[in-house]
């Protein structure tokens, strides 16, 4: 394996051959050969391997060499340990940064939760204040009734009752796919798409559903269901499989009507074709949360639609929602 002494690099040899064959620096062999030649040329040295220079005791030369080597190795150790601590410090810094980011995420999501609670409180306060302000007059009373109907339509109030529960899920992984190897990947056609869910929701509306929610998110008139990358977003909030749609309505009638819609027929075909899970079942007690109300863009004073008929209310000064940006005040 060792290169023969004094071997010259052959120009014809390939670079890789050279790298593979010549693992030891040829200088060692050359130095050894030179030493041997010197020892043979000069006098018979008692210690020919050392190749002592004339005028210097052999022990000094030997020690000098050893000290030199020791110094070099000291530098090598220093280099290695410094590099090690640099790398460790870098990893530590990254871990710290990640920790800080995790902390930030936790703080901010706590913050968001708090704000949601605050929003709910304020909404309730607004609702009760509005109730109090409008109850006093018959105009206000009528406005309240209209408002209730509008809220029902806009899905901004929670609803509960019997209805249908429709479940859609991605096709289960193939029986022979290897779950240990980490690729329990579902084939592309077996994945529920956003337009499947849209068709499902539209079918349910067409069948006469009064209110629909998808994985606990209420579907209102302006709710969007769309796909961004691999995730399906309902009003920008991601939902994950399995997708459970709850539709409030007369269970029997809704089921009969829904199953005859073209949407239901198409979606039912997905199961034999691609293995997509599609189940329709009746449910007795569905709880649907309220959807977030759309931003208020337009408001008009009550007086504009119906003249105030006295009885203690401030004439014409009651907007139907107390929004400071409304142009009705």
């Amino acid at each position: 394996m060792s290169a023969p002494p004094g071997r010259q690099r052959s120009l014809g040899a390939s670079l890789l051959d050279q790298v593979l064959a010549e693992t030891l620096d040829p200088a060692y062999a050359q130095a050894a050969a030179a030493r041997a030649a010197r020892a043979a040329d000069l006098r018979p040295d008692p210690d020919p391997d050392r190749g002592a220079a004339p005028g210097r005791p052999p022990w000094l030369r030997r020690h000098r060499g050893q000290l030199l080597v020791a110094l070099t190795l000291l530098i090598a150790g220093l280099l290695a340990s410094i590099t090690y601590s640099e790398a460790a410090a870098g990893a530590e810094g990254r871990e710290q940064a990640r920790q800080a980011l995790r902390e930030d995420i936790r703080t901010e999501s706590d913050n968001a939760d708090e704000l949601v609670v605050q929003l709910e409180e304020l909404t309730a306060e607004v609702t009760s204040t509005r109730q109090r302000a409008l109850e006093a007059s018959s105009v206000g009373q009528r406005a309240l009734d209209e408002l209730a109907a509008a809220e029902q339509g806009a899905a901004t109030v929670a609803v509960s009752g019997p209805g249908l529960r429709v479940t859609m899920d991605n096709a289960p992984p193939e029986a022979d796919s290897d779950p240990v190897g980490g690729s329990a990947e579902v084939a592309e056609p077996g994945i529920v798409q956003d337009n499947d869910l849209r068709r499902l929701v539209n079918g349910l509306w067409a069948a006469g559903a009064e209110a629909i929610s998808l994985n606990g998110q209420r579907i209102g008139a302006t709710t969007t269901i769309r796909q961004a990358g691999g995730a399906i977003l309902v009003d920008l909030r991601p939902v994950a499989a399995p997708y459970v749609l709850s539709a409030v309505g007369d269970p029997q009638g809704l089921q009969n009507a829904f199953l005859t819609t073209p949407e239901a027929r198409d979606l039912g075909q997905l199961t034999p074709d691609y293995g997509v899970v599609f189940e329709v079942g009746r449910a007795d007690d569905l709880e649907l949360p309220a959807a977030t109300a759309a931003e208020l863009r337009h408001a008009a004073p009550l007086a504009a639609t119906a003249p105030a008929r006295g009885s203690g209310t401030t004439p014409g000064a009651v907007p139907d929602t107390p929004d400071p940006t409304s142009d009705g005040d």
């Binding site: 030199l68 080597v69 410094i82």
Partner: protein
């Protein structure tokens, strides 16, 4: 014995003192360490082969470290720093493996 002591002292010193390295030098440290490792393994093997020479060892160590760092530096300037680092690591790694195998043969006769 003295050389091994030097290595140990170097490692301990580096860990204890934990000197700060200038930022521009940091990318070249790992490559320099690989180059140093190559020189050290070469030296050990030469010693087993009975042709060790202190001068050759010191010169090869210094030039290995400097040249490896220089190649990577040049690569960084040319925009192929990562590729050149890989090249240096591959070549030095092969040499380290070859020398380690020779050392193993000397030690275990197998």
């Amino acid at each position: 014995m003295i050389p091994i002591l030097g290595l140990a002292v170097g490692v301990v010193l580096g860990l204890l003192l934990d000197p700060s390295v200038p930022l521009w030098l940091q990318p070249y440290l790992p490559i320099a360490v690989v180059a140093a490792l190559d020189a050290v393994f070469g030296g050990i093997r030469a010693r087993f082969d009975g042709i060790f020479d202190a001068k050759v060892f010191v010169v090869s160590f210094v030039s290995n470290v400097v040249v490896a760092a220089l190649i990577v530096f040049l690569g960084d300037q040319l925009g192929v720093g990562a590729q050149l680092s890989t090249a240096v690591v591959v070549v030095l790694g092969i040499r380290i493996f070859g020398n380690a195998a020779a050392i193993r043969r000397h030690l275990f006769r197998a």
